[in-house]
Symmetry: C2
Subunit: 118 residues, 2 copies
DNA sequence: CAGCATCCGATCTGATACTG
DNA sequence: CAGTATCAGATCGGATGCTG
């Protein structure tokens, strides 16, 4: 599998780092604060456990996310953004901003307000 | 197929707009100036004609790219970024910038210099 | 030169069931 | 609660040949 060091095109590298249906929204959520797996899943509408874990794993491989594991039962982990993950929020925020503008053009202000984005 | 008006999440909307292996680099190239199909293909290393046309079509559907058709033979078209496409360059540039930083961390300055990115 | 049709393997996604 | 395994359908990507 392709790792970070294999890339010779910066745009391709970054694009691959956020590729996949759920990566941007996961980064966005973690940008709001560390989170357990279950809370992350609850906060991302529609995502399944498999996809969540799989995408988290890839985000970790690219050094954008890390986790703390706590001992004892019930099991508990805490996922959080690394410095590099925070850096990627520049891109995520820009994406979010453009999406908001387009949705406003489409008269979706109400939906955005419900989500606290407007 | 999902069109722009179907989205209720701004991040998902923008992410889908640049989804696919070649979309960011196509936008990047067109950001440097209008281009014919063949010149676009020549400037994007590794892309095939099918993928190029397919991705251009999707970029057009999302209103980021448009084209002029000229009469006569040989056929000639000119693809260019719309205002909305230019707006998306904010995201593309942010992606490019992060990618460059990561490649510098990996000691790939030489490759970047060859491409005129450093 | 610009663009379409077809075919096929690779990859992605999601549902379900299971383990520690 | 956190994480793994399996399987099937959908989508993506690329090679090739053809049309105007």
């Amino acid at each position: 599998m392709k790792t970070r060091e294999d890339y010779n095109c910066p745009l391709e590298l970054t694009h691959d780092m956020i590729r996949g249906k759920w990566k941007p929204i996961i980064l966005w959520q973690l940008g709001k604060g560390s989170s357990s797996l279950i809370d992350l899943q609850k906060s991302i509408h529609g995502i399944g456990q498999k996809m969540l874990i799989e995408h988290l794993k890839e985000l970790q491989e690219f050094g954008m996310v890390d986790k703390n594991q706590f001992e004892g039962y019930p099991l508990r982990v805490e996922y959080f953004l690394t410095l590099r993950g925070r850096r990627m929020l520049d891109v995520i925020n820009a994406m979010q901003q453009i999406g908001i503008e387009l949705m406003v053009e489409d008269g979706k202000n109400e939906i955005l307000r419900e989500k606290g984005l407007l």
